[in-house]
Amino acid sequence: MSHAIDIDLHREGPGGLETEEMTLNMGPQHPSTHGVLRFVVKADGEVMRRAIPDIGYLHRSIEKIAEKVGYHGFMPYTDRVDYVSAMQCNQGWAMACEKLAGIEVPRRGEYCRVIASEFGRIASHLISVGATGMDMGAITPFTHAIREREYINDILEELCGARLTFNYMRIGGCAWDLPPGFAKRAIAYLDRFEPLIDEYDELISFNKIYVERLANVAPITAERAISWNLVGPNLRGSGVRYDVRRDVPYSAYPEFEFDVPVGTGERGTLGDCYDRYMVRMREIRQSCRILRQALEGIPAGPVVAKVPRTFKPAPGAVHVRVEASRGDMGWFAVSDGTAFPVRVHIRTGSYAAMAAIEELSKGLMIADLVAVIASLDIVAPEVDR
């Protein structure tokens, strides 16, 4: 979070004319910054010289809190790291602790985690694709997406009693077993939801104006994406077929069959905003696929392993990665054998995406910046933690 940003930029426009460079302050309160983000936009009329991201407005020192509240106590805070899809954050922290202490999670617990995570992923991607539509000026897809997300929230509420900050998982498993009849209702919902994805495609994905707005905008090559450490759908949008769920298998994911959709440059350049958008749309379908398998094949047994109340893992450091909605979320935890972690560091997908924007924004139009932010699916709390 910095207040003074001074960057010397040449101010010669095309044709050798001296043009006025406008410094626009986009955010922290701006309708399209998805939370509290701030960009200092150096613009020449509608064309940006660059947009300099300025973060820290949502910094809640979650990592410092982790050092104060202990392993169990930190679980509710992980919800706040990425409140749009809190389940995977829960899972990341749980997995980090389990790895530190060498705890085995019961198989039913892993299935519950997968079910919760994948519902969370669908909800998060729905927000993302809906918000992309809204940032492009089409409000209808957003309300339709939010409508479905509400139903998913209903489902998750049945599971854990919360609709946004779930606090569902525990070290060693999950807090609650599935309620009776849950699988049946969830599958009934999926039956309703899956045809709706076609409707979204019809409504917005293949809309000419929408495609024109996203295609060829801010393409990222695979090499750039990797060196910027873009992860998840942003990385896959650039054509890198890498998914932590498949390539570094964790939880129950190896037992499910699913595809890893990647960007193909179908409407423009490989790795443009449209590719990232389409990857999310396709991932929603894949999540439905995983959910069906998980709901049908869920084994019996306990959902949580025996974990002592005062949790004191052996000294050591772990770095676990989960495939969160915004991609590979790295949880680095250091223990010194006491009840409190020495250090927790969360490396999130939005953080890397945000760092990439300054480079990406050069020469784009202001309207494109909105498209880039939306297509990178930046969630402010995740950037600042």
Binding site: M22, L24, H30, P31, S32, G45, E46, G133, M134, D135, M136, G137, A138, I139, T140, T143, H144, R147, Y151, D154, I155, R185, A186, A188, Y189, R192, E199, E202, L203, I204, N207, I209, Y210, E212, R213, M365, I366, A367, D368, V370
Partner: protein
């Protein structure tokens, strides 16, 4: 209107006053009535838009104030009037205060030539169509003024976008109007309506292929001039916060919204006049009053159908980017409009009164197009029922 004023003065109303002053009083009276009427139209349009939009988005929309929320607009208006009117300290206060009125003036003036019925028009001036394009130019200046005087860069960008957009799209719009004028030989709004008939095949929409194209050219350009989605860049909330209107609050902000929704109706009304036969109804009765009411009703229905289409478009389409907007105008609409007008001129030279075969053919073509379109949207129509109270999982 002058006849009306004459009649009023002759029949004893305003007796004893000089004739000129009588005119002034009558004009002022009409202006007052018109202003209230426009407020009503704009208000109802705003309510309608919110309801239509809500329905498209699978919501309910305002439904608390009055039956089905139908006087929600009144409540909103009162709320807005009572709100504090903030002038930012860095703003250029005189211009900032004046801008909404200028915009208001522009669009208010345009209502003077909207023909609601046979004889029901404030002023049937013989350059009506031209006059509409001319006075709506004031709206642009108002928006530019608002954008500049706010001393806010987002507002300035919005104002500049708006100006660029409106002056660009004025060209295809004017050319589309001229295509019609080629066949009417008059610029008067009533004259254009009188050149059409009540039946669809007598409308200019189906007069010949060129007026058919001109209708779409005009409608698209009018949407752009009215800052409607997909051309609502000047107030693109995801990019420019609220564009030129960002700093406005209270009554002044309300005036801008009035202009926006009033303009929406104006678009519908002018399209109806030019292409859809205006107030023309078959002479089914001798009673002048009933006929007049039928005419007004017809005009409103047609205009509101187009308003509905504009709302539908807004509920469906994303917004174009500024360069795409200009590309669409200068690389597609303007050349098409020019070619269309020249071809229409040839057509007018060969068949000055049109041909019944061409008209019939165009009607069939239009019907086919409509059927095809509805088949495409049937998928969504089936799902358009609001499912608000039914949770699918319980």
């Amino acid at each position: 209107m002058q006849q009306l004023a004459d009649r009023l003065i002759d029949t004893g109303f305003l007796q004893g006053l000089p004739r000129g002053l009588g005119y002034v009083i009558v004009v002022a009276l009409f202006a007052f009535l018109m202003l209230n009427f426009i407020m009503l139209v704009a208000g109802v349009t705003s309510w309608l838009e919110r309801r239509v939009w809500a329905r498209i988005q699978s919501r309910i929309g305002p439904n608390r104030v009055g039956p089905q929320g139908s006087i929600q607009w009144l409540a909103d208006g009162i709320k807005n009037i009572m709100k504090e009117d903030i002038v930012p300290s860095a703003a250029d206060a005189p211009l900032f205060r004046f801008a909404p009125y200028l915009a208001m003036m522009g669009f208010f003036g345009a209502f003077a030539v909207v023909p609601f019925g046979d004889g029901l028009i404030v002023a049937d001036i013989n350059i009506g169509v031209l006059y509409v394009s001319a006075v709506t130019a004031l709206v642009v200046v108002g928006i530019l003024m608002a954008g500049w005087s706010s001393n806010n860069k987002w507002a300035l960008l919005g104002g500049i976008r708006s100006a660029a957009q409106i002056i660009s799209y004025e060209i295809p719009a004017a050319l589309a109007v001229l295509t019609v004028v080629l066949f009417t030989g008059t610029l008067s709004m009533q004259g254009i309506i009188r050149a059409q008939g009540w039946a669809p095949w007598n409308w200019f929409l189906f007069h010949n292929p060129f007026t058919f194209v001109a209708f779409f050219l005009f409608f698209v350009s009018a949407l752009a001039e009215g800052n409607r989605t997909p051309f609502d860049l000047p107030e693109a909330e995801s990019e420019l916060v609220a564009g030129a209107f960002t700093e406005y609050s209270g009554l002044r902000s309300l005036l801008f919204f009035l202009v926006e929704w009033g303009n929406l109706y104006l678009i519908g009304a002018i399209c109806t006049t030019l292409f859809l036969g205006g107030w023309q109804v078959p002479a089914f009765t001798d009673s002048g009053l009933v006929l007049g009411l039928a005419q007004v009703l017809t005009f409103f229905l047609k205009a509101y159908f187009l308003v509905f289409v504009a709302m539908w478009v807004r509920g469906t389409l994303p917004r174009v980017r500024v360069d795409q907007l200009m590309t669409l105008c200068w690389k597609y609409l303007v050349p098409i409009a020019f070619v269309n007008m020249i071809l229409a001129a040839f057509f007018a030279a060969i068949l000055p009164n049109g041909s019944i075969f061409v008209k019939a053919g165009m009607c069939v073509f239009g019907l086919g197009l409509a059927v095809h379109f509805f088949q495409r949207v049937l998928f969504h129509l089936r799902r358009a029922k609001p499912e608000l109270h039914l949770s699918p999982i319980v």
